[in-house]
């Protein structure tokens, strides 16, 4: 039987554990901390197709959306607060609406359901009056990420997987022929494995170096504002059309684009800022003020609502904004599954499927096909490519 060690018990590692145990693989999940203690617990639980243009990431998002619905059936959608609530992307200017309409046209050609909305207040009565238009994406969904990670991991444990918390991985252990035979932990133990899955999220770059198969994954900080609990006043994931530009941007400075959504608990979450400041956790009051101002511009009623708190996290980004998923030829046995930036929750279920295919051999590095763009080779310099 194949034995896999998954490094990271965030949403991606947990989804991989569920997918692998479903296929009969023996799984050990290790995390230096607890379930969902990294970026998984710092986001909003987006499962979006709306912010993705045609390409590999959209294909993965569509695969992942279907996989999430199956996960929902397996676990029970209400247990993980999986809601097919739909997204509403709102333009705030005529020019913005034209750009949004062009973007949506491309998405429709790729199979996304994107519905033009002349009067956004019909779908979201609390939106500001006079907004020029919007696009409704009924396929967008929401999930509670920590509940989902815990439920996926629990499903894997029920099938015989084991989970070790407080376990820091220091190196890959390799046979004489260079192939992987396990991993070494900080307390000196060796966990034997045929395959190691690097699902370490924002820390995936550091872990990949320890495994001898480095991939570039860097942190992109974001803040989320949390309001006091309210009756359901925001029905969809509502965001400004600027958001799509910011997600794909490579600007190092602060970017903000408003995302507003209600949660089952009644709080309203307001994002999303993007900054490249390393792992600096300092609260930035100007960022909070900017996000709040943008949210009030979309939903004027928020001006009278109290904020309870602000949290922050670090999105794991690769230089080309695509996740790195697949076997690493430099260390046979290492499979990466990290670098999903702000889309990790949404892409997790599909990532689990791909990793499952790679581990069982149903898909290989050579037969990656439409997923070849996600392979780790793309980062290799000229000298490494010749090896």
């Amino acid at each position: 039987m194949t034995r896999a060690v998954i490094i990271g018990a965030g949403i991606v590692g947990s989804a991989c554990a569920e997918a692998l145990t479903r296929r009969g693989v023996e799984v050990v999940v290790v995390d230096r901390s607890a379930v969902g203690s990294g970026t998984t617990s710092r986001g909003e639980g987006n499962i979006l197709v709306s912010d993705k243009g045609p390409g590999t990431e959209l294909s993965l998002a569509e695969l992942s959306r279907r996989a999430w619905l199956e996960v929902g059936e397996l676990i029970g959608p209400s247990l993980i607060e999986l809601e097919e609530k739909g997204g509403l992307v709102v333009a705030q200017s005529r020019a913005g609406l034209e750009a949004l309409a062009r973007f949506a046209t491309g998405q429709r050609a790729a199979g996304v359901t994107a519905l033009d909305v002349g009067d956004p207040q019909v779908l979201e009565p609390r939106l500001a009056a006079g907004l020029p238009g919007a696009v409704h994406y009924p396929e967008d969904m929401q999930v509670q990420p920590v509940l989902a990670a815990a439920a996926l991991l629990a499903a894997a444990l029920e099938r015989g997987a084991t989970f070790r918390t407080g376990t820091d991985v220091t190196a890959a252990v390799r046979d004489g022929d260079g192939s992987l035979s396990g991993i070494r932990t900080a307390d000196g133990q060796v966990i034997e494995a045929d395959v190691v899955v690097n699902a370490s999220g924002t820390w995936g770059g550091e872990v990949s170096e320890r495994l001898g198969a480095p991939v570039p994954v860097l942190p992109r900080r974001g803040f989320v504002l949390v309001t006091e609990p309210l009756p359901p006043l925001v029905r969809h994931k509502v965001y400004s059309a600027d958001y799509v530009d910011n997600v794909g941007s490579s600007d190092a400075g602060l970017e903000t684009s408003c995302v507003v959504e209600g949660t089952r608990g009644g709080t309203v979450l307001i994002g999303a800022s993007r900054e490249r400041v390393g792992f600096d956790t300092t609260l930035s009051v100007p960022v909070v003020e900017t996000l709040a101002r943008q949210a009030v511009a979309l939903f004027p009623f928020l001006a009278r609502v109290n904020l309870l708190r602000v949290y922050r996290g670090f999105r794991p980004y690769c230089p080309d904004h695509l996740p790195v998923i697949g076997p690493d030829p430099r260390v046979p046995g290492v499979i990466h599954a990290c670098g999903h930036e702000g889309a990790g929750i949404g892409l997790a279920a599909g990532t689990g499927r791909l990793v499952g295919d790679y581990v069982t051999g149903a898909r290989t590095h050579e037969s990656a096909g439409e997923w070849a763009e996600l392979l780790p080779d793309r980062f290799a310099g000229p000298s490494e490519q010749q090896v």
Binding site: E228, L230, P231, F301, L308
Partner: protein, 87 residues
């Protein structure tokens, strides 16, 4: 002693005392109901972290009773659910 009004009744307080402390001292241990189950709630952590002791002060819902300092003549009312049901 000064008093503030809680659901129509006078509650005495000492200078600097919070609304939550004064209510508990007066024997009142709950002043809101939860959003889903309608269960009664009062002080839990008492230091501003847990948001369990929410109360409506001068018509403004979701004030933490453990942090708001009592003032003479304040109108404090039991909060039902989110306190925003009228919105």
């Amino acid at each position: 002693m000064s008093t503030f009004e809680f659901d129509g009744a006078g509650i005495e307080f000492r200078p600097g005392q919070t609304i939550g402390a004064a209510l508990v001292a007066a024997g009142q241990v709950s002043w809101r109901t939860t959003r889903v189950g309608g269960v009664r709630r009062g002080l839990f952590c008492g230091i501003g972290i847990c948001f369990d002791c929410l109360v409506t002060v001068e018509g403004e819902p979701n004030q933490r009773a453990c942090l708001v300092v009592a003032e003479p003549g304040l109108t404090v009312t039991t909060q039902e659910g989110t306190g925003h049901e009228h919105d």
